[in-house]
């Protein structure tokens, strides 16, 4: 993974001292509230329902054991001993003290971590495929480009006060595991007819109040033009995006209002001005950064059949292996997904002890690296098959091995009304109800892959629009109600879910879901997934059946 040089380290160190001074001036009454707000937002600090919330950046979801141990330490020393992993692969601390935040940032800087631009109307943490570098169908590893984007966007002087926040996702091949089509900019590594590698560029995707699938603005962008093209898009957005209404300020609204063709024209005109400038990425810089992401020295003797006997003998291990591990491009290795969806615990939450256990596992068995996923799980990407049993046992001892990855119980859930000041409804208790109702793992396995995404309000932090099943908290006269959508997906065939019917109460949610699932089970063809069945039979069949059996 990328290692800071002196320059990188200096930046985070100076930034900590700057923020320490800003905090001091604020506490001394020298800095007005709303101005400090903008500054603390740019350092990842929100004020939440009960306390400030600090969001630490995990650039493109990649961290090492030392960093995860530091996060565990910070959570224990300055917070209540746990943290929350988000869909942007960041870590949120829910209870830090405002006056201690400079100290927290100083501790994080010791291990090359920071909270810069994890909030505010600026370019946020770039995300990518959690299987980058280890999946078979990749054209190129997207992470070096994420790092290049990270450096270019960090403290970008022109883009610190955009109309609204700005999110970029990069994928390395035809499969999309980064929800790139619902990002402000989605970058797909592609190969053109001449055999050159570059990017397909999408723009104007997003969720929230107005969910939109991104539109192609450029079919093929040569690699060396990456930064000039990004700069052109964001400059056009900065100058033209709406600033009168924060709900209409995202780039998707601008692209919609202007039309993609007109928007493309403006971007191309701006790009023509800056394309042949110092923004052009030299091959030497690309390969310098790529060198940090070279494949590990895998054991060429690692046996591919190392666990075959065990799988036959140990049923629990087999079930976990089937659900929570993924094929690796190197023979004899496997990708392990660490489930942060234990039974009846908030999705994405992790205690300091759990973080330390995973940090140790990574160090012993996975080249010392850990990744976050946009579904709030962690990944140990390079585990030798012969080590899987040991890894599984430690994970199981730490309640991190619930064999539920990809199932209904692998829900993506935002913190909702228990923590978030913006929430319309609680999410965690309803997620528990769903878990209780669908506790039987065999039933979940029979249902197969289903993505359930659950947001506590229309801000859609848990991406409910693109869940196969989406749940959205709505407030009806002070009571928590839930709207259900079906048919969304966030992969390469991205689609927005369609509303099933009227919002239902918290108690009703599990029952309605059961009816939905019954419709699927009844109509599916052999081996057909929920989303494929939905696309074949359509919303109407679900509506009819769910409403017919109501009451």
């Amino acid at each position: 993974m990328y290692q800071y040089n002196e320059v990188d380290q200096k930046l985070v160190d100076e930034r900590v001292e700057q923020y320490r001074d800003q905090t001091r001036r604020y506490l001394a009454g020298e800095l007005p509230e709303d101005e400090f707000l903008a500054l603390r937002l740019m350092n990842g600090l929100y004020v939440q329902r009960h306390a400030p919330m600090l969001r630490v950046a995990i650039p493109y979801g990649l961290m090492n054991s030392a960093q995860l141990r530091k996060l565990a330490h910070v959570a224990r020393k300055y917070d209540r001993g746990y943290g929350h992993f988000t869909t942007r692969t960041n870590l949120q601390l829910n209870w830090p003290k405002l006056e201690e935040v400079p100290d927290i940032l100083a501790e994080l800087a010791e291990v090359q971590l920071h909270a810069i631009q994890t909030s505010g109307n600026c370019i946020r943490n770039t995300t990518t495929d959690h299987l980058a570098g280890v999946n078979v169908d990749e054209i190129e590893d997207p992470r070096p480009y994420c790092e290049i984007i990270r450096q270019w966007s960090t403290l970008h002087p022109e883009f610190a006060f955009l109309p609204r926040k700005f999110k970029i996702a990069v994928t390395g091949g035809p499969q999309d595991r980064a929800a790139s089509q619902v990002h402000d900019i989605g970058l797909h590594i592609v190969r053109n007819e001449a055999g050159d590698v570059g990017f397909e560029v999408l723009v104007g995707g997003g969720l929230g109040r107005t969910p939109v699938i991104g539109k192609q603005i450029r079919e093929f962008l040569p690699k060396e033009d990456l930064l000039s093209f990004l700069e052109a898009i964001i400059r056009v957005y900065n100058l033209n995006g709406r600033r009168d209404n924060k709900y209409k300020a995202r780039i998707k609204i601008l692209v919609q209002a202007m039309g993609i063709d007109k928007f493309r024209e403006l971007v191309e005109a701006e790009w023509a001005e800056i394309r042949d400038s110092e923004l052009k990425l030299p091959e030497t810089e690309i390969s310098r950064v790529q060198n940090f992401f070279k494949p590990f020295e895998y054991d060429s003797n690692a046996a591919d059949d190392a666990v075959d006997t065990l799988l036959a003998e140990n049923n629990d291990f087999r079930v976990w292996y089937e659900r929570n591990t993924v094929a690796h491009k190197v023979s004899g290795y496997r990708v392990v997904v660490v489930s942060l969806k234990p039974y009846l615990k908030p999705a994405g939450d992790m205690t300091s002890e759990q973080m330390e256990a995973v940090a140790d596992l990574a160090e012993s068995y996975s080249f010392g690296e850990i990744r976050g996923t946009h579904n709030q799980n962690l990944v140990l990407a390079d585990v030798k098959k012969s080590d899987l049993l040991a890894v599984w046992q430690v994970l199981a001892d730490n309640n991190l091995a619930r064999p539920n990855i990809g199932t209904l119980a692998d829900m993506t859930v935002c913190p909702g009304g228990d923590f978030c000041a913006l929430a319309n409804a609680k999410t965690l208790s309803v997620a528990d109800r769903i878990n209780e109702k669908f506790e039987d793992l065999d039933y979940l396995y029979d249902l197969g892959d289903i993505k359930l995404n659950f947001s506590g309000c229309i801000n859609a932090c848990a991406h409910h629009h693109v869940g196969n099943i989406g749940l959205l908290g709505v407030d009806k006269k002070g009571e928590d109600w839930y709207q259900i959508t079906l048919g969304g997906r966030d992969d390469e065939q991205a689609a927005l879910g369609k509303v099933l019917g009227k919002a239902v109460s918290a108690e009703e949610v599990p029952n309605v879901l059961e009816k939905v699932l019954n419709v699927y089970v009844e109509h599916r063809n052999e081996g057909e997934s929920f989303i494929d069945t939905f696309q074949r039979i359509g919303l109407a069949t679900f509506k009819e059946n769910v409403n017919a059996t109501a009451h």
Partner: protein, 159 residues
Amino acid sequence: MPLLINRQPAANDSWTLVNEETLSSTGGDIIVPLALLEANADSLQDRKGRVAVQINGDDNIDALLENPNQYELIAIDFPVFRDGRGFSLARLLKRAGFEGQIRATGDVAHDRLTFMERCGFNAFEISEERYSDESLAVFTEVSVRYQGAADDPRPVYHR
């Protein structure tokens, strides 16, 4: 109002920002908002004293970009600090070859000065209550610049 030019407090500034009411009654060097300037182009011709222009994110500056050096000072207004269009406007002026002073007016303070300077501003009008001697120190708080900008077009790997 305190004014910084090239990172130093400026004592004798001859410029006065005018509005519709004060335009005719103000003598000396004046800074005129673009729309007002266009509406009074003729009368301003015969005026004694220099004329500069003030722009903001709502203005169409295409014509100005054709010939920015007709002015020795261009002010860019920040109606509220969240309005970041001024950063891009400054970069466009620099790119168009503007050599004069780019002055930030409006909601300008301390914690944005470095970003503004990097985009091409070299003068900052800061309100009394937001100004302190510490304002001068901000320029050196964060010395690392990853990306090129108006101050230095080279990204970190070219330096």
